[in-house]
């Protein structure tokens, strides 16, 4: 049985219903892409899954313990003027096991260094977050979720303002995490990235969700992202981002 399921979910923001009758389960160890136009309710759904927004009706059933749920917010949510180094950020991922008080010891620092090496940011260990590029920062943030040993990972547009090399590294790490059993939800705008990453797709449009296979969104003849959206949905910025 899937660890994350939606039951007839209805979500609203500011008195306005954004999504209703949302059903379905997210496969364990699969990467599900969440797509939809701006304002379709992608971030709202993520907030509801994280328990930060109460549903109007229905419910989110999540059997992953709360501290193993990781959320990689859009980068704007961070206070980047705060003095913290990459290594320190990654070490805060030990919160589930260490909480506010327990000290770190050798094995944890070693694990931190392994994670940084895996993400190609070992040379940035002592650099301040405010000095990093968008891509480097995104790697560091993913490093924190690795340290957290997340079993459910929610990513909100992880590839926005990120260089192509970072996209490659992040894609690889996410694939590894999924193979190891992590359930991953990722808000995407780019159909090409969707083709590389997603196992399932939940498409939000007109207040409803539709589960589709990634193949259905891709061009049958080439296996690539189609030039224009072929499905009868209003989906302008995806094709836009695809060409950017």
């Amino acid at each position: 049985m899937a660890r994350l399921r939606l039951h007839d979910l209805q979500l609203a923001r500011g008195g306005q219903t954004l999504l209703e009758h949302l059903d379905g389960s997210f496969r364990d160890g699969a990467i599900t892409a969440l797509i939809g136009a701006n304002g379709a309710g992608k971030s709202t759904l993520i907030a509801a899954i994280m328990g930060m927004l109460h549903p109007v009706a229905g419910r989110v059933e999540c059997t992953v313990p709360r501290e193993r749920c990781a959320w990689l917010p859009q980068q704007l949510a961070l206070d980047l003027s705060f003095p913290m180094s990459v290594e320190e950020l990654i070490m805060t991922g030990t919160w589930p096991s260490h909480g506010a008080l327990k000290g770190y010891c050798g094995p944890h620092y070693r694990r931190g260094r392994e994670i940084m090496a895996r993400l190609g940011i070992s040379h940035l260990a002592h650099r301040q977050l405010g000095e990093l590029s968008g891509g480097q920062r995104q790697r560091a943030l993913l490093g924190r979720t690795l340290m957290q040993e997340a079993e459910l990972l929610l990513l909100d547009e992880p590839f926005a303002n990120v260089d192509s090399e970072t996209v490659e590294v992040l894609t690889e790490v996410l694939r590894d995490m999924a193979r190891a059993g992590t359930t991953i939800l990722v808000v995407l705008h780019d159909l090409e990235q969707l083709a590389h990453l997603a196992d399932d797709v939940l498409m939000l449009s007109g207040g409803h969700g539709r589960w589709v296979s990634p193949e259905a969104l891709l061009d049958h003849s080439t296996g690539q992202a189609p030039k224009a959206p072929r499905l009868p949905i209003d989906f302008p910025e995806a094709s836009h981002a695809g060409t950017a």
Partner: protein, 298 residues
Amino acid sequence: MLALLDAWLFAPFEYGFMRRAVVAGLALSLAAPPLGVFLMLRGMSLIGDAMAHAILPGVALGFLFAGFSLPIMSLGGILSGLLVAVLAGSVSQMTGHREDSAMASFFLISLAAGVMLVSLGGSSVDLTHVLFGSILAVDTTALLLIAGIASLIVLALAVIFRALVVECLDPLFLRGQGVRGGVVHGVFLGLVVLNLTAGFQTLGTLMAVGLMMLPATTARFWSQRLEGLIAIAIGVALVASTGGLLLSYHLSLPSGPAIILLAGVAYVLSALFGRQHSLSARWRRRAAPLNAPLSSNR
């Protein structure tokens, strides 16, 4: 030479009141600057000022009921400071206004109420004492109270340190871990109130903020790391409080302003010549050639 040093640095402390004053100053210098560093990093540098005004009515009430009794006045100060903090927080939550506007409203009300209360019950001398303090009048009870509060602050800060750091950087992460960020924030504001209450006897309600904020803003010109900021801020505060006391002794200056002004001198000098973000650092950076390795200051 040695005799001169002795006369300047050590002889003043043969007096009991100077010894108590310097110990009170040192205790405050250990507790206040770390709080100031966090306030500064959270963009709340002026909240300290607001809180200082907020403790005034409680201090005044304590003064009205019990006369010049430091424990009672401190208790009143703590209570009214916490009350204003809670009120400002809940008003901003209920009305959706930003917390700083609610805070500004409440501290102005508190200031007026406090001054009114002191004037009703005492003379202008008392008012001056409450507003500007007198470190040289610290007695043993006051000293114990100040040292006790300072120790409590340092301990509490050590306990919430990691939570506070994570909450400053990424409140959503902490919430995801099931920790209410509001609780951490509330405890922190409580510590700020406690610290200001400990400081008002020595520096007065208004200038107690100085020993909290000035060392922190000074440290910003020297370090980019949290530990560095805190260590430097504490160093600045220790030097300023001891140096200010000595200056006030030798030159017959009022002690509170002497301490804060000395910290102010450190701030101005650092703004001019500090390693990070200072005027001279900016000038140095502009003069660096294009292909020079990236310096640590951005």
